[in-house]
């Protein structure tokens, strides 16, 4: 049963005011040298924003469209001096936890401001609405279920799992049984049909690497896809290489994917990339009994083993 996300405008507005105040205090006291949040971008949508002066904190926004997982920007701050402030909601904190569990950023250099989140909208879908409708959605909170981010419908972590400062009351948490409906549909097809399905989709891939760049689990120091020696991935955008690319991308985050679905959301040609990640997550649950493979706190399933794991030799 998918969860029904809620758009709570007054709650978001309160959180925004408190976020600005908190960021201003942190920057003013020198507790952080930069605060990573969202600000209004050129197209009216929230864009990642790096506040370095207390007065810049007033430009921070917290509204129904703050869809980015900001944690990935920490990797650009590895070299810098001083602490980094970061605002996260539930899924943002999973992304952050992924990076922390992968030892890619020192926890002691972080000040995390957490905001419990009941649901966010997909910016692209909201942008496509006409002006009146958009106003009704963004100001009065009258959003129907289809406008929400996909990940909100399976979210079981509305409250940040990592936070130094929590703004607002925690929301009630309830278990959401994972459903991989699309994967089950695909599994029911014949191998030929599946091959054709993936071929038709992935020949559209532009190899822009947006899905890799946005992914909080794709945080290796050197990406296999960028390596020249060995050349894992040929540079020609031919179907065989497209499959190689998506094979490597999904399998390398197997067991570490936080199921935020950002890869899918940022894809300029709208490829349903989670069909790969969900398959791996579904199998991890089925084979190794990991209930919530998307939660980094439950140590990554491929980084451990059990004596009674399914016997691979007997499976042939």
């Amino acid at each position: 049963m998918p969860r029904t996300p809620v758009l709570d405008i007054p709650r978001l507005k309160t959180a925004e005011a408190r976020l600005r105040a908190e960021a201003k205090r942190l920057l003013g006291e020198g507790a952080v040298s930069v605060f990573i949040g969202h600000a209004e971008g050129w197209d009216g949508l929230p864009a990642p924003f790096f506040a370095t002066e207390p007065e810049e904190a007033d430009r921070l926004v917290w509204n129904p469209l703050v869809a980015f997982n900001l944690a990935k920007y920490l990797l650009e701050r590895l070299e810098g001096e001083g602490k980094v402030g970061l605002v996260v909601n539930g899924c943002g904190s999973l992304a952050l936890d992924r990076i922390l569990k992968d030892h890619r950023f020192p926890r002691e250099r972080l000040v995390v401001v957490g905001i419990p989140c009941s649901g966010l909208l997909d910016p692209d879908k909201v942008l496509a609405l006409d002006d009146d409708l958009r106003r009704a959605v963004l100001e009065e909170g009258r959003a129907d279920a289809a406008l929400f981010l996909k990940r909100c419908t399976w979210c079981d972590t509305p409250n940040p799992v990592v936070a130094d400062i929590l703004l607002g009351e925690p929301l009630p948490e309830e278990p959401v049984p994972a459903e991989y409906l699309r994967v089950a549909e695909l599994e029911a097809l014949t191998p030929e049909e599946r091959r054709e399905h993936f071929r038709a989709l992935y020949e559209r891939c532009l190899r822009c690497f947006a899905c890799r760049n946005v992914c909080p689990a794709c945080n290796c120091r050197e990406c296999a896809l960028d390596q020249w020696d060995p050349l894992w991935l040929g540079r020609a955008t031919v179907p065989a290489e497209q499959l190689t690319y998506h094979f490597i991308r999904a399998f390398d985050v197997a067991g570490r994917c936080i199921r935020c679905g950002e890869c899918e959301r940022v894809c300029p040609v709208g490829l349903p990339l989670m069909e790969f990640n969900d398959k791996l997550m579904k199998d991890i649950t089925e084979l190794f009994g990991v209930e919530r493979p998307h939660v980094p706190a439950e140590a990554e399933p491929l980084g451990k083993f059990a004596d009674d794991d399914p016997d691979l030799e007997a499976s042939h």
Binding site: P191, G234, A236, L243, F247, L280, D283, L287, D307
Partner: protein
């Protein structure tokens, strides 16, 4: 004898039927401590076994990156065999336990992408099990003979791009042209 046994296996539809005299090419990743020695003892014991496996010696089955396996299939392997010490007997104590999880997941993932899962096998062969090694090679060769040539990654994914240029025993018949494919997908390993 072997033929009748093999013909019982269903051949996946849509994959090319094996040409006359075709032999499958199997890439075997063998751990240095058990399976490589096991294969060696099969040889020194003069056991009769098919010659379809090309062996790559790795320190441990845990060393086998799933990308190696994808690469093997992309470059013309009809099957991939990963073989290591029995679980619990790993030279590095735990390497094959990690491999077991990873390969289990990989096998199901390859199946999801549309490759016949019987083309990837994992076996635990110790240094003294020459007999078992010979049996593994025999049974896998027969399975693959029944399945026929593997779709090259390009074809598997929809188009033949001439990516797999290395020759193997199962090289498809000559087309009579030596020109490079127009797609420019050719490159060396």
């Amino acid at each position: 004898m072997a033929q009748t046994q093999a013909s019982k296996l269903p051949v996946a539809a849509g994959e090319p039927a094996a040409p006359q005299g075709w032999e499958p090419l199997i890439v075997g990743f063998l751990c240095n401590w058990c399976s490589y020695a096991g294969a060696d003892s099969a040889g020194t014991g003069r056991m009769v076994q098919p010659t379809n496996v090309r062996i790559v010696r790795v320190p441990c089955s845990g060393r086998v990156n799933p990308r190696f396996i994808l690469r093997a299939f992309a470059r013309g392997a009809d099957g991939v065999l990963v073989s290591g010490c029995h679980p619990g007997d790993c030279h590095y104590a735990t390497g094959n336990f990690y491999a077991r999880r990873r390969l289990m997941l990989l096998k199901r993932y390859l199946e999801y992408l549309g490759l016949d899962p019987r083309r990837l096998e994992t076996h635990w062969v110790s240094a003294s099990e020459g007999q078992k090694w010979a049996e593994v090679v025999r049974s896998m060769s027969e399975t693959l003979k029944a399945l026929g040539p593997a779709p090259r990654l390009g074809e598997w994914f929809g188009a033949d791009l001439g990516l797999a240029t290395e020759t193997g025993p199962g090289e498809p018949p000559e087309t009579g042209s030596n020109e490079r494919p127009e797609t420019g997908g050719q490159r060396d390993a």
